[in-house]
């Protein structure tokens, strides 16, 4: 192990050559009889399943790191290893500082206890003393908006109330390092917005955060670095953009595989539907091919789109949309917009080129481009290409922080 940064004060977590495998019992070996039988007959009674292979990376203090990967890739195992819930088989993990993991919200919540009691239990698990919880108790209750319900058993809470209480606890965590696993997967939009606000706060405070997620939006919005785990290997350790693109590709591969499988699996109802979908997608690709390139300067975003119709499309228009990392449409233009009105010839063999310039007044962030070819009355999509392009804007001035519309503010005393 030749990591010289081990004593570096700037390192929060050092993962070196970590491997992990699980023993999966072949039969139900959790009985003494089976264990004795296996011991006598020399059978192993389990199958080794390698979950992580020789993983090494360093997390510096202040990093906001996204760990992404498909289901079963080993990313949650990695998180549990860092949280010291699991122990590595080979290699080692060094943690500098107090680490609080949130594998799940509301760890240790007992349904039979009141909200009040659960706050103290959960707080103790987070490392708070009773006095410290006394001091923050009112804030927790206020934030969770649960005033009158705190003396009720939490089994009588709605799921929304539970999540509010758990989240209200979680954000009190006084730690140097936070591990968050998919906590965005629960809750409604309002809750997710609260989560985003919390992440933004963590980022401002330069906390070290490790976020395991499927959401490329959150990775690109909050993380300064990301790690892609695939089949137990560390595939990419790089910028959020790189990782998001690679993850996208992995997912596309998976879709193709799923389609193939469904084609081979005979004509059940579901695969029949899949087949139709696949057929529709194939037809769309047969309609028109596109290629998009871009360049970004301080004052202009320039997009060049090549359109190669594979067959003649009547009444076809081009739409071009830029989405923010949270999926909001920030820019949208269509070839048949009144102020554009540029008909495009979608006749087979007649390739077209579209040049689009957009003023760069974009705030900092990562954006994705969606290009579609639609029937003019929008009744059909000839082509729908999501995320054909991801780009990042580094504004010299962060517009989102400083942007303020001109305004007037006046107070007039009201007379009786």
């Amino acid at each position: 192990m030749s990591i010289d940064s081990k004593n570096n004060k700037e390192v929060a977590i050092q993962v070196s050559h970590v491997s992990k495998s699980f023993k999966l019992p072949l039969e139900r070996a959790s009985s003494l009889k089976q264990a004795i039988f296996n011991a006598i007959s020399g059978k192993k009674g389990y199958e080794e399943h390698q979950v992580l292979r020789d993983i090494s990376f360093t997390i510096n203090k202040g990093d906001f790191i996204g760990i992404v990967g498909r289901n079963g890739s080993g990313k949650s195992t990695l998180l549990k290893l860092m949280a010291q819930i699991y122990y590595p088989e080979k290699g080692d993990i060094t943690v500098n500082g107090v680490l609080v993991p949130f594998i799940e919200l509301g760890v240790g919540f007992s349904p039979e206890l009141t909200g009040h009691d659960n706050v103290y239990l959960n707080g103790a698990l987070m490392g708070f003393s009773t006095k410290e919880i006394d001091a923050m108790y009112d804030d927790i209750v206020d934030f969770a908006e649960l005033g009158e319900f705190m003396e009720q058993k939490i089994k009588n809470y709605s799921s929304g109330m539970l999540v509010r209480l758990a989240f209200s606890m979680a954000i009190r965590a006084q730690s140097d390092i936070l591990l968050l696993d998919e906590i965005l997967a629960v809750g409604d939009e309002a809750f997710q917005r609260k989560c985003y606000a919390y992440f933004a706060k963590l980022r401002r405070e330069k906390k070290t955060v490790i976020l395991v997620t499927h959401s490329m939006d959150s990775v690109q919005r909050f993380c300064n670095r990301a790690i892609l785990i695939h089949d137990g290997d560390l595939k990419i350790d790089g910028s959020p953009l790189e990782v998001a693109q690679a993850y996208q590709e992995l997912n596309n591969q998976r879709l193709d595989l799923a389609d193939l499988e469904s084609q081979f699996s005979g004509a059940s109802d579901e695969s029949g539907r899949n087949h139709e979908l696949e057929e529709a997608n194939r037809q769309r690709r047969e309609n028109v091919d596109i290629a998009v390139s871009h360049s970004i300067s301080a004052d202009k975003l320039i997009f060049d789109i090549d359109l190669i119709p594979k067959r003649t499309l009547e009444d076809a228009v081009l739409t071009f949309v830029i989405n923010s990392e949270v999926g909001e449409i920030v820019f949208r233009v269509a070839s048949d917009d009144k102020n554009v009105n540029q008909p495009i010839d979608f006749t087979e063999g007649h390739d077209s080129h579209v040049h689009l310039e957009v003023d760069n007044i974009f705030p900092n962030g990562i954006f994705s481009v969606q290009v579609a070819v639609k029937k003019a009355d929008r009744s059909d999509n000839y082509l729908m290409a999501n995320n054909v392009l991801l780009f990042e804007v580094h504004a010299p001035v962060d517009v989102s922080q400083n942007w303020k519309p001109p305004f007037r503010f006046a107070v007039t005393p009201k007379k009786d």
């Binding site: 959790s30 760890v107 103790a124 708070f128 009773t130």
Partner: protein, 267 residues
């Protein structure tokens, strides 16, 4: 790792309080049950063994003598069973957060200890009512309780970690408890055994449970009680049961420490 850091103490406190609150959920009498249960058991045994079978013989204050034995036995059975189930019943916690696992076993055995103190109060009240003459030896009770607690803790740690892997241990321990119950002079006086099998009785008394329960009776109820050292004629013989307790505790703690790293994965 600091065994009793502030964080661990707070956690132990919260887990014990939780255990206690959860125990008598949805029962009308609540905490009272922790006293009522051994009292009812005592009532049954008193009627059967003291009245019908007249097993008490010439032991003075036999009712208190019997009640003390039953209370301490109940503690032992409860503490070891709590220890057995501790890790598995807190499985969801272990899979989500890292903390010293022994705290769970400690909290389970400590809530049994709290129950013991309630029961002990009842025993003392009975003793006063039935005219037991207290002697200075009552001051030795804490040592007896400590010995029994350490034995229960050692067994709890061992069973708790075994139970994670093999659920059979739960059934085995139920049977074993029955065996130990009848192997310990609780409902019958040890003199009944020594009358016919004197050596057998001497051997029986070497078990830590027999030794400590007889010592408690001697210290609390009556000096008429046969103890290990009075039967063997030397106080040194006490090293054997105490040695057993220490060995069980050391082995339990070692085995627990060894397997606790894998709890989260195995469950």
């Amino acid at each position: 790792m600091k065994l009793f850091s502030k964080r661990n103490r707070v956690l132990l406190h919260e887990l014990t309080v939780t255990d206690f609150k959860l125990r008598y959920q949805q029962s009308a009498l609540g905490y009272l049950w922790s006293i009522l249960k051994p009292l009812m058991l005592f009532a049954v045994m008193y009627v059967v063994f003291a009245k019908f079978l007249a097993m008490g013989g010439d032991i003075p204050n036999y009712a208190v003598y019997l009640l003390a034995g039953i209370s301490f036995w109940t503690f032992f059975a409860e503490a070891t069973t709590q220890g057995l189930q501790a890790i598995v019943s807190r499985g969801d916690l272990i899979r989500k957060i890292n903390f010293p696992k022994y705290i769970i076993v400690l909290s389970g055995t400590i809530s049994a200890l709290i129950n013991l103190f309630f029961n002990l109060l009842v025993v003392l009240v009975f003793a006063v009512l039935t005219g037991v003459k207290f002697r200075w030896t009552i001051l030795l009770l804490p040592f007896n309780i400590l010995e029994m607690y350490l034995l229960a803790l050692g067994i709890g740690l061992l069973l708790g970690s075994l139970f994670v892997k093999y659920r059979d241990v739960g059934y085995l321990w139920e049977v074993a408890l029955q065996l130990f119950f009848y192997g310990t002079p609780i409902i019958y006086p040890i003199t009944m055994v020594s009358a016919t099998h004197p050596f057998m009785a001497k051997l029986l008394m070497l078990s830590p449970m027999a030794q400590v329960i007889q010592d408690i009776r001697y210290n609390l109820v009556t000096d008429y009680t046969q103890t290990l050292w009075s039967m063997w004629g030397t106080p040194l013989i006490g090293l054997i049961p105490v040695g057993i307790v220490l060995i069980v505790l050391a082995f339990g703690a070692w085995y627990f420490g060894k397997s606790s790293k894998k709890f989260a994965e195995v469950m």
